[in-house]
Amino acid sequence: MSKLYLCAIALLATLSINGYCEDAPAAEKRFGQGGGRPSEAQIAEWRAKREAREGQAATADAPSPAGSGAHGDMSAMSGMTGMAGMPGMKDEGSLRSGRSGGKPSMKGMPEGAARSGGRPSGMGMRSGGALWLSDTPPMRGDGARGGRSGMAGMDMSGGGWGKPAVKRLWLRAGNDPQRSGFAQEDADAQVETLLVTPDGKPEGEPLPSASDDRKGLSFEMPVQGFYRLYLTSRKLQGDILNVNVAKAEVANFGHGGDVEEAARGLQATRYSESAPLEIVRERKPDERKFFQLKSGEDQVFIVLKKGLPLQGARVRMVSYQGWSKEEVSDEQGRVSFQIVRDYFPPWNEFEKRFKATYLLIAEANAAETGKYQDKPYTSVRYQASLSGNYYPSPTDYLSYAWALGVGMAILLFCGVAVYLYRRRRVKPYQEERFHEGK
């Protein structure tokens, strides 16, 4: 079956669902009662689990349980940058560039500064900027990436008739979705890649080395569901252990196909208990197979550490155009962002299937001690990244008012025309009319 057709359907499907709501709060109203958030019972369960684990690992200076109030070394990110939303956005990309991997920086960001356009230089694991997985390679010069991408990032090169689709991801470094280059290899870092397939082990398996291109990570997707790729790199810098987890989540659903398989895929767990730190995009209660995030919507992410919610993690979201905002995860590990609308092309160039990439970086420090490659460390700096795509909101280009206006106008016009025609018609042979009274 043609993927194009699938995707177009997916688009239409999401349009028709999301298009209902004029704005996000309305969606909240309508769907809010669903199972979006973890229930009280679930939170209690998580706590119990965490406490049990802490009991076992008494030696480690574990971070304090979420919600305990005492933060230990975990520094809560406060001093938020400006409101995610319209103009008051910070430009962080340029400020960050050049810094070494992941030292949180949260001060001195000028409010309302326009994007400087400075391109981050010297990217890579060494040179700073987060490490993240993207389904689009860095653009080369022309800058016209994004744009129409009916494939929604699906690499069609391998997906022939009857063959499973092949997904190719690129490891990129940088804090700007548009401008991050390929990640440089770092001899010091120890990299481990795990692929979690919908029907595989929950901890995942090493990625089969399918690609000769070091920048591209390819894998086949034979079954429906969410494929997750974890790329974990560890590196000791002084007495600080840097743990970077770049994660990509790829949805693979088809039209037709096995319905049960798709349902299973939709319901399967989407986090890994072995991941040192990871960001999970919280599913909305009404999500279906071909979900698309639209700008203007609120999206909740959950920060998990080894499968458990982590409070106090600093989470930064960077939009396609580089606008960013930072939040700190709450006791359930949740952070919520409104997906900012940053796509303002000239009217006639507007493309409703414009695919934009957002980048999410979570950071947390923990005063954990241990040994890495026989060298001791006293604290661990965790960093997790997740990228995803979002699209223009239907409200940006769909108008109810116009439709209603045009519709009513035509309705009235036709109605009146028919009425007058029938009223005034002195058609030969029909002059004699009868009353329909009883």
């Binding site: 043609s2 057709y5 349009l15 108008s399 439709a403």
Partner: protein
């Protein structure tokens, strides 16, 4: 009279004397509920249905109208369409044809939700005591070609899209102007199709056309019985492959008095049903196989619906008298 067992004859009589309009109303209602709300009961009959079970009705649909996947398939890039994807197009068409062959155009007259809505609008008008409109002979002859034009466009435009000649935002062209896209999702509380898409000029034109046609549809089917069916490209597509269909509308010309009763009740104003005494297969391209003509024919055996050659509903004098005897007080 054919020799058949008395029990079978009694059954036939019971069928032939049925209060047809009442039966059809309930049948249509049931079909409407099934295909507009069946999705909530996890009913899914696939996406090759030969009638307007609109795919835009995400929640409730119990299947998808074939025109939607057909247009999508045809708008594939040519390189794929004319290679392996062509097989998918063919198998899709085959499944559609299999569905179709089963009921012929009976899908239109009994199942199609959009047709049912038109019938409801008609009965609303009737209750208001407003007379229906008819086309003149000349208008009929002209307008009856429109559905073939739409069918041709419905195939050519997606091909053009696949070939890069037209914008993708025109896809699927017919669905964008089909009133079912707006009206059917409405029944599940989804008004999202009542919008104009300003994302591109093509999309804007198509959606504006869509809303205009929906408005026209509402006015049209209020004053004209089965207004839209007259222009429906699905109907044209049906007719092209109707030869091997199992359900058939048959006419015995020698029994016909050409009284025009059938023409009088015909929603589609098909004159042939009354005037044509040569063809035994009387279904025309405009026909929706609502079988109202059979129910209103006073000549026993002149009109009948057969399924695989077996008569299932036949015009009878007694049935006619029962159905048309409105207000007749039978003497003791």
């Amino acid at each position: 009279m054919k020799a058949s067992s008395p029990r079978l004859q009694a059954l036939r009589d019971a069928v032939n004397h049925v209060h047809f309009n009442r039966f059809r109303f309930w049948f249509q209602l049931a079909a409407f509920v099934l295909f507009v709300y069946g999705g909530y009961l996890a009913i899914d009959l696939g996406s090759r249905l030969p009638f307007f079970a609109c795919g835009y009705n995400q929640e409730g649909r119990a299947g998808v109208c074939y025109l939607l996947p057909l247009q999508h398939q045809l708008s594939l890039p040519w390189a794929r369409l004319f290679s392996y994807a062509g097989i998918a197009v063919l198998t899709g068409f085959l499944i559609f044809a299999l569905w179709f062959i089963f009921l012929n155009k009976g899908w239109c007259g009994f199942i199609c939700p959009l047709g049912t809505i038109q019938d409801w609008l008609t009965s609303l008008r009737r209750r208001l005591g407003i007379r229906y409109s008819t086309y003149s002979h000349g208008q009929f002859a002209q307008l009856t070609k429109v559905k073939y034009l739409l069918l041709a466009l419905m195939i050519l435009i997606p091909l053009g899209i696949g070939g890069g000649l037209f914008s993708h935002s025109m896809s699927p062209p017919f669905c964008l102007i089909c009133p079912a896209r707006m009206i059917l999702p409405m029944f599940t509380g989804d008004f999202s199709q009542f919008t104009i898409d300003f994302s591109s000029s093509a999309a804007m034109v198509m959606t504006a056309l869509g809303i205009s046609i929906t408005a026209l549809f509402l006015v049209g089917s209020f004053v004209k019985k089965r207004f839209f069916c007259f222009f429906c490209p699905m109907s044209a597509l049906h007719y092209l492959i109707s030869k091997p269909a199992l359900l058939k509308l048959k006419k015995d010309g020698s029994k016909c008095t050409r009284c025009g009763d059938c023409y009088n009740v015909c929603d589609m104003e098909i004159k042939e049903i009354a005037d044509d005494i040569k063809n035994t297969n009387i279904m025309t391209d405009d026909c929706t196989m609502c079988l109202k003509c059979v129910a209103s024919c006073p000549e026993t055996g002149a009109l009948k619906a057969t399924f695989a050659g077996i008569p299932i509903f036949e015009s009878t004098e007694a049935g006619f008298i029962k159905r048309m005897g409105k207000g007749v007080q039978h003497g003791k």
